[in-house]
Amino acid sequence: MITLIYENNSIHVFIDSDAIQLMGYSRNDMNNTNNFPFWKLIGFSNAYAISSDNDRMTDILKCLKIECENLSSQSIQNHVVPQMLSQLNDYYNSTNKNLTTMNSSLILFENEKMFIIDPWFVVNQITAPYCIGESSKLFETSLNKLKHTELLERIKLTYSTYSDYRNYSPKMVHHITIKDDHFDVEHFSLFD
């Protein structure tokens, strides 16, 4: 699950170990932000991206220097999507037909303005809190119910409801706090 929350003038991104999809490696390597499906957009001072899948497509998009002034639904649809498609066709697509879909959804955000590019390359503006992952609506509802609880407590309680529902719990959650042009990462286990 990937969760975006806007609170105290900061954007909080929570990415759990299931979303990172790397099993078996050392704890240090699993906490390496370079392996997360999260990155700062090249060419922007404070715009970031998150992909719902962690794969080669994410790698290619991470390296893309986007030529676009400001992020808006229209500018993403008209400028960002064509640049993404061209890179993915060159370096990801193993067939001769042009790509029409992606495996994952992509979230782009600049300050509190957030946009999602769905697997059919359709762009929509979204508002936080927003979750992507399996049974994300359930996760979002539990989160909203607890909106007066302190942030970390709210996340832990939501994971507990979510894990009861799925009878399975991810192990680690990585908490990225973004303020303007820098971000900090903390890691916590759901079994403490």
């Binding site: 790397l22 078996g24 490696y25 050392s26 240090n28 390597d29 390496n32 370079n34 392996n35 962690n54 794969d55 080669r56 994410t58 790698d59 290619i60 991470k62 390296c63 060159d90 370096y91 990801y92 193993s94 067939t95 001769n96």
Partner: protein, 190 residues
């Protein structure tokens, strides 16, 4: 004839892989160990034998020292993996029916281990890495390898277990030291 796992021990990165029986008693070249390319900055090692492998040795210019401000991981994606993919597609090795799961490599660079998983997805690692179906056997061993006093004995344990679990494994294996660029050949004892 392929690399199976990589790890760091006392700041030295080692590559371990198996050697086919027919080759074990001959003098081995680095290519026999699955090492496709090496220069001062990079070592590229393959898990699978695929036609993609040959592209690397023909394009040493991809592995020049860095001339831009990209971080190491981004640099590997942009200047090595992307052209490698393009070349594979140009030569029709990558096409509708090519199994992109077979694009599995280890790249050693700047004291870090980079590993491509399926379809050239790149992961940056500091401690250890393993590829293929045997990773579920190797990983639990690798978690403790950094604290082992005698790695040769410990690796023999791993190779013995792999020989027991997978009958296509060869009894001969090598340990390649990426700092001294030398290797030794061993045999799993009975």
């Amino acid at each position: 004839m392929s690399a199976k796992f990589v790890f760091k021990h006392n700041d030295i990165i080692y590559i371990v892989g198996d050697i086919p029986y027919a080759k074990a008693d001959k003098s081995l070249s680095h290519l026999d160990l699955g090492i496709l390319f090496e220069n001062e900055h990079y070592i590229v090692s393959a898990y699978d034998e695929t036609p993609m492998n040959y592209i690397v040795s023909e394009n040493p210019n991809w592995f020049n020292s860095k001339q831009n401000d990209l971080d190491d991981k981004t640099n590997i994606i942009v200047n090595i993996l992307n052209p490698w993919f393009s070349e594979g597609k140009k030569l029709h090795i990558i096409n509708d029916s090519f199994n992109t799961k077979m694009m599995r490599y280890f790249i050693i660079h700047n004291q870090k281990i980079y590993q491509t998983l399926q379809h050239f997805f790149l992961v940056e690692l500091n401690d250890f890495a393993s590829l293929g179906q045997e990773e579920r056997i190797i990983f639990p061993y690798l978690k403790e390898i950094a604290i082992q006093p005698n790695i040769e004995n410990y690796i023999e344990l791993i190779m013995r277990e792999l020989n027991y679990k997978f009958n296509h494994y060869d009894k001969n294996y090598y340990i390649y030291n990426t700092t001294s660029r030398t290797f030794n050949v061993y045999e799993v004892s009975k």
